[in-house]
Assembly symmetry: C2
Homo-oligomer: 366 residues x 2
């Protein structure tokens, strides 16, 4: 008798959606086929909704364009940005899965120093399924990794760690620089492969990039709102930063962990620094007030869910950042709208129909 | 006419002392000769003062044994531990230099992944001479390194960084594990070369290992007291941890930076886990109270120098940790003695003669 073949099931295949915001054909998926094909994709089409986005054969996906977003959310669609990658958070909203991995369509498979192709998704899953250690720094980095552990002097009571909510991956080739740095260092490429994953300590903020990002949707999804950017807004390219600042404050409050480091993806194309400067300049100015605001933001004991935390944070934004510019009052208001949407689409008794329909104006289900 | 040869002077050669605690002949220096020989060594001989320690030819050094320590400090010598590597801090006290590099005598030259020998001292100097960024996390690690910078979303007002006070290096081969972990993983070796230097964020404590450590003596030296360990004490192997906790709290208070990561040294020999367990067990128990104590320690606005900070901290230790065990009252008292010694030996009008004498009982100057 022959031994039956064991089917290797990719991890979390039924519990994770891959969210991709795009304005173009998704040919980049060809390179990711071996790693992504077993998973479900949620594609958020930005820009002109009449344009057809080509998705390579064999991928299981649903696709939403602006018309779909307007139809599904109605007047509340105002909280979803247009003509900016911030629209990706619509994918977080309509997912029904426990985990999200989101990636930009100019990100390709990177290689580790041994020349092996990096399965970025598998590394994010590993990061998310192992604990974080936000209360004390481990000098040998991730203590749960093979060949590593907690070093001498690390309190034993803290060695169980906490649940990881966010896994922030990095980029080889084009680094994620702001417009001024792009202008000053147009030729700089990131070629340093740092073989580490680490927890960002409690109380420390970080610049979260949305290009290569995994998170626990049930635990922190409601805080992953990418704000008001792009069309009709005075600012762009701060969508992921905003989500990162909010999410980190809420993770710290709820005792959840945030990791950064591996996996790397290959970021292929630098965006135009002159265009970026126009999008960023108010953000560059405002962030000097935004950072101290988030560093000192304190949530109440009553804020026990990410939704409650986020609504509390929106009130603080209105109160403390509103005086800087009316933009922040509008943002605070849409933060609340976002949570309304989240609760409606994610409640057990949700009455909103988000099942992609096979009509022309509706999202395409493959 | 020929071009005159340019003499390359090693960095900080007149501003840095290398401090080595030892009980044996310093043959390990042979491997470090190319990197250490231009620098002055301060050797602190632990254990039997009648034993002669052999130092390889050609090194410039001064050596202190227990008799020297007793002669120089008199009754205040009680603050310097005996039969424990904690005695190394005597070297910090008698140095007149701006920077210290301290290394254990079982640490050898490591190689980077390309096979090149790592000049650990040069990397520490580089870490110390470039700023730290304790107020916000940079996801591409040290932004001052070649090929790296601050990423998008990093506030511009924080990009100048702060002065670096401590550079904490790591270890290939034998990792710095506590006795329980040594017992559980006797064969674990660290073979992962993580090509990164990073700032430990403000407000985050870390386990500082004294094996491979550089620091700015003028700025943080008074906090680098390695406590009461070894002979006559209920605890060992927490000397560097104690110094690290105190120093980090004081760096955070004074706005100084602490870096960890590169350089690696090759740690050759694991110490006996059974002996270590005996030394550590009270520390393992006590640190569960010590860590929360340091995490919540607040220094006053009047504490504007490391000395003032340290004396304030000693009072907090007495008040908050004293009730745990009389050991902490004794330690708090010796922390004050240490600062007395520091001020006496480091004042412009110091009356204590620490110049090593060429008599038999006195330290040897080569």
């Amino acid at each position: 008798m022959s031994i039956p073949a064991t089917k290797v099931t990719p991890p979390l295949v039924d519990e994770l959606d891959i969210v991709i915001p795009t304005i173009r054909n998704l040919d980049f998926l060809e390179q990711w086929r071996a790693f992504f094909q077993p998973y479900h994709l949620i594609i958020v089409q930005d820009g002109d909704p009449t344009k057809t986005i080509h998705v390579p054969e064999g991928f299981d996906y649903e696709l939403y364009n602006r018309n779909d977003i307007n139809r599904i959310l109605g007047p509340k669609a105002s909280c979803i940005s247009f003509k900016d990658s911030a629209c990706r958070c619509f994918g977080f909203l309509v997912s029904k899965k426990k985990y999200i991995f989101t990636i930009d369509d100019d990100c390709f498979v990177a290689k580790d120093p041994s020349g092996q192709e990096i399965n970025a998704l598998a590394q994010h899953i590993n990061n998310l399924l192992t604990p974080s250690t936000p209360f004390f720094f481990n000098t040998l980095y991730d203590p749960y990794r093979e060949g590593a552990d907690f070093v001498r002097g690390y309190p034993f009571s803290l060695r169980e760690g906490v649940t990881t909510a966010i896994s922030h991956g990095l980029w080889l080739n084009i680094p994620d620089y702001d417009a001024p740095t792009q202008l000053v260092k147009p030729l700089e490429r990131n070629s340093r492969y740092v073989d580490a994953v680490m927890t960002i300590p409690k109380g420390t903020l970080f610049p979260m990039c949305g290009m290569n990002l995994g998170f626990h949707r049930e635990l922190i999804g409601p805080a992953m709102y990418f704000g008001l950017m792009g069309d009709g807004q005075p600012i762009g390219r701060y969508d992921d930063m905003w989500a990162g600042w909010c999410a980190k404050v809420i993770c710290d409050h709820l005792g959840l962990g945030v990791k950064t480091g591996l996996p790397y993806i290959w970021h292929s194309k630098a965006s135009n620094p002159f265009v970026n400067l126009k999008k960023e300049y108010k953000g560059i100015y405002w962030q000097e007030d935004i950072i101290p605001f988030f560093q000192s933001a304190v949530l109440s004991k009553e804020a026990t869910t990410p939704q409650k935390c986020y609504v509390e944070l929106s009130k603080l934004v209105k109160e403390k950042l509103g005086p800087i510019d009316p933009y922040f009052e509008k943002l605070a208001s849409e933060m609340v709208t976002w949570i309304d949407c989240w609760d409606e689409l994610n409640s057990a008794t949700s009455k909103i129909d988000v099942v992609p329909k096979k009509t022309e104006a509706a999202p395409k289900k493959k």
